[in-house]
Symmetry: C2
């Protein structure tokens, strides 16, 4: 399935969360990761993330789309690339 | 159609962009707006936004999903609500 994951995480936790997400998805915008992932891998990813975040302060949305053909992406402005960003 | 709009906009422009987006979509997370919208209204919204942003510095992603039934949303932590936020 295709996943768009958006997050609003306190500064003191965010780089740890990003480091984890980078193992599973592509970092495409400051608060957005996306990509194809299996149900099993997503489950593993989210259980790691749940241990890192504060459910009271942080917010993570996971949008699941069954197949990429159901989604079209349009971009205004820059396409951000964080691959070379070191965490 | 259902839209998820994510953005990474310079501070000096971001509140103007949010004010515009709030006319068309729901502000659900710090850098995320989403909701049902017609093609016509989306076109109007994006043409207003394009005049506000810098295509060199800012980044806006628009994920279009034909029907809401193709998308499932899961939340970890807080559901953010910005309705009462004044811009």
């Amino acid at each position: 399935m295709y996943i768009i994951l958006t997050y609003d995480v306190e500064v003191k936790r965010v780089s740890k969360v990003r480091k984890c997400l980078k193992k599973y998805l592509t970092w495409t915008q400051n608060s957005v990761f996306e990509g194809e992932i299996t149900e099993g891998k997503l489950h593993k990813c989210l259980s790691e993330i749940e241990k890192m975040v504060s459910k009271k302060e942080d917010s993570i949305y996971i949008y699941k789309i069954n197949t990429p053909k159901f989604i079209k992406k349009e971009i205004i402005g820059k396409t951000k690339n964080f691959d070379e960003m070191f965490l």
